[in-house]
């Protein structure tokens, strides 16, 4: 059972969290979004080996946040409230 640091609630067990996707996977918008752009947004995941930036939701407080962690050894490097520029 991993411990994730919710920036609002502190360390909580992983079962309280829901994965929200890769950090920086921005939604392409407008009338001219190509099928491949849209498909990349929907389906292509970074799935990195090593450090990974992700968006998670802490289900018990309902807040989304950014978490940087290592997918090899599961260490969590940091977590932070989403900034307005990232929304």
């Amino acid at each position: 059972m991993q411990l994730f640091p919710c920036p609002f609630c502190g360390p909580r067990s992983e079962s309280e969290f829901h994965f929200g996707g890769d950090f920086g996977n921005l939604r392409p918008e407008g009338s001219d979004v190509s099928a491949s752009e849209w498909s990349a947004y929907l389906h292509l995941r970074a799935n990195p080996k090593g450090s990974s930036s992700e968006v998670w939701m802490h289900m018990t407080c309902g807040e989304l946040f950014r978490m940087d962690r290592n997918t090899v050894d599961n260490t969590v490097n940091s977590s932070a409230e989403l900034e307005d520029t990232h929304r």
């Binding site: 059972m1 991993q2 099928a35 849209w38 947004y41 989304l64």
Partner: protein
Amino acid sequence: MTSFRIGRQGEPAPAKTIRFSFDGKDVTGLEGDTIASALLANDIAIVGRSFKYHRPRGVWGAGVEEPNAIVDIDMPSAVRNARATTTPALDGMVVRSVNAHPTAATDRHAFLDRFARFIPSAFYYKTFMWPDWHWFEPNIRKMAGLGILDPTAISVERADQVNEECDLLVIGGGPAGLFAARTASEKGKKVIICDDGFHFGGSLLHRQANIDGGDGPAWIAATLNVLRDRGVQLLARTTAFGLYDHGLVALNEIRPGKASSRLWRVRPTNVLLATGAIERPLPFANNDLPGVMSAEAGLSYLRRHGIAVGRRVVLATNNGVGVETSRELADAGIEVTLVDYRSGRRLMVAEGSKRVAGVKLSDGTRVAADAVLVSGGFTPTLHLFGQAKGKLRWDDDLLTFVAGDPVPRLSAGGAAAGSFGLTGVFESTARALASFGLTPRAMPKIVGRDTDYGIVAAWPEPNMSGRVWIDLQHDVTTKDIELAARENFVSVEHLKRYTTLGMATDQGKTSNLNGLALMAQLTEKAIPEVGTTTYRPPFTPVPFTSLAGVTSGSLMNPPRRLVLENEHFAAGANLREYGGWLRPAWYGAEPEATAINREVRQARDSVALFDASPLGKIEVLGPQAAEFMDFVYYNTMSTLKAGRCRYGFMLSESGIVYDDGVLVRLEENRFIVSCSSSHVPGVYALLEEWRQDRFDRKRLFIHNTTADTATLTVSGPKSRALLEAVGLGIDLGDKNLPHMATAWGSFGDDTVRISRVSFTGDRSYEISIRADRAKHLWKTLRRRGEAFNATLLGLEALMVLRAEKGFIVIGKDSDGMTRPMDLGASAPLAKKTAEFIGKRSLFTEEAQRPDRNQLVGLEVVDGTQPFAIGSHGVESTPAGKRSLGYVTSSYFSATLNRPIALGLIERGAARHGEEIDVQHLGQIRRARLVPPCVFDPSGDRLNG
């Protein structure tokens, strides 16, 4: 083996006698016995039959490493595959051997052993390939295996689960562990120490020692007193079975007198492994005969239970600790013949048929013996270190793997660190503690020097004569490993799976290293080059009840309960679970179908009362609310006027319909999302995610009021008249409150919200009221309703009413491919300019495909029986039959007095009037495709 109880020296008072049965035979033991020690004391040599060949097997060890003495316990509570060596014997217990028919002593499958040379590893898979393995599997499974599950056995006792944290978790309560706990506690650290035995002390419980001026038991008692005084948590009978992510250690505590264990989830800052070491068998022919056992175990039974495992004992060893064991046994008056491999003499064959009778040595001499104790060296117990991804290092002096590069916050001390003498145990523990910054105030004072371990190699070798057993629990011999090598299964992971070496419930605690050593020789490699298999939790089997804790049965996923549940029960409701809620399915004692038809007819003829409380009521507030609703709905919602409602779809980003429901605009900046009852948590999370992702969190708020508010629906031609009789404080006329409008009214002192929304197709009013005040309203509706021939409406009848109208249930009449256009909602896609969830996905080639499955009604052409839900529409093609989609909803309609159905059928919307074949379980029927709505298509009844 001719074992017997000789009593322990200096025993204060005779222990209480206990009686239990083993394979139907009476066994007498003493309080404090394990099942294994009691069997030994009663001279029961054969305690089980081997997994594959049904060879007679006796007790091998005295702890968790036991491969043979696995038993099923029927009384006092059912336990399967219990280790007899670690399970306390209780008065009145009923114990059976496993894989033996009828008993271990007289097993009718024993003949299998005579065919052993024909059934080596992988024999079954190679032989029973043709015509089909599954023909043979049931009988083979019956003949092989361990305990037999009783499917009717249910654990009534739920296991406790405890979360705990500490500065230092000490795993193992022998000299190393006790010393470590004492050291940490003297620094004021919060310490937990656990041991899988019933008593703390480890090897000090059976080996002689002189520490700090006293013997082993005196030192144990003194140390435990100190630990108790300092508030150290002492957990006996507790196995640390797994080390998980982020430093979580899982422990399972067996509780005396309890049917279930207790699970501990401990998050320690540091972990000290004082887990000791496990003695290895020696390879010689027939080394599995009952009476051949671990030398350490033999000494343990002598000192801890007062049992001599034989009168004439041969002790074979390749190391100094084994020699010391023989000396201790001899001191107790047992006749011991020592076979010391270091002087060149080796044990070649164990003789005897059902139990050992003697041995033959390498110099040709024969020695008669009723017990053969063996010590093939010690393997440090480093499973948790391995689970922590620690790398093991081969030690050429100790001839075993030891902990390699350190793992943060985890250190090993004592025998687990490869120290097999007391002085070494304390020194290595002090070193391990130093890595946590802990220094003992004083080292324990030992009298005497550590025995020289001085181990010499005695690995199994290729071409040994006779049957030399490596894995006792899974019946793997040297020949099986040679076969694996010949067939090129040389990697350890392949070797393991091909021969099943180390795959049994004991996970090869006694066998793995011997197997690897033989493979190393066969492949001409060094043992460390062969490597070990991956260590995974659990270290020993853990009951599922422990892992489940309280989350089993009705607490696994507790259903949500209606605030009016007692009212429904009083009205004779039959409750079923719908989308996580326990709701009335129908009312009354009549047969189900009769009750449903009656409720449908009354609902159409007069008025129906329905508890719609689980319906979603998620409020969306703030200046950005309208823009937000446009984004989350497929339909345009910002044009909705205050006080009005609109039906719409919510999609996923893939354009698939996720939910449908009515959106209420209460005020300019206040909406209520009335989503499906079963989708409330999902829709709430979806709304919250998009709110935070792309809206101003200070100008948009989401508040889920579903549980605070009860919703009672009054539907039917007489609904308005009933509500006027009840009195809701507002004009219910169609001008003031038309269909799809919402208004505030009152009931008594309470404000209620009344919405003209219909899921039945009839005039309907949804009245939302504070949940705690709903009871009075419900009772009033029922009392007043009598004059209007009102019926209580269950979920099943509501499903019929909505299907008559072609109203869909998302997830039932839609699937993971359904886009809104497939349900007939194409207008927003053509007209809506604002961005919304899933928009781009609706323009993909796939979404625009003309031959998509579309919502359609299916009329039964051939008779009066409804179609089975899930029947496929089929069409014959030159290539064979092809599915055209399937039936999603199907009912008998009491209103129309005929069956009705909805389905998702290829190009269905454009094919009204056509007939198709419908297939279910091989039976073909005929259906006519019709519009989904088959009752009151003009919608007159909404205002009727």
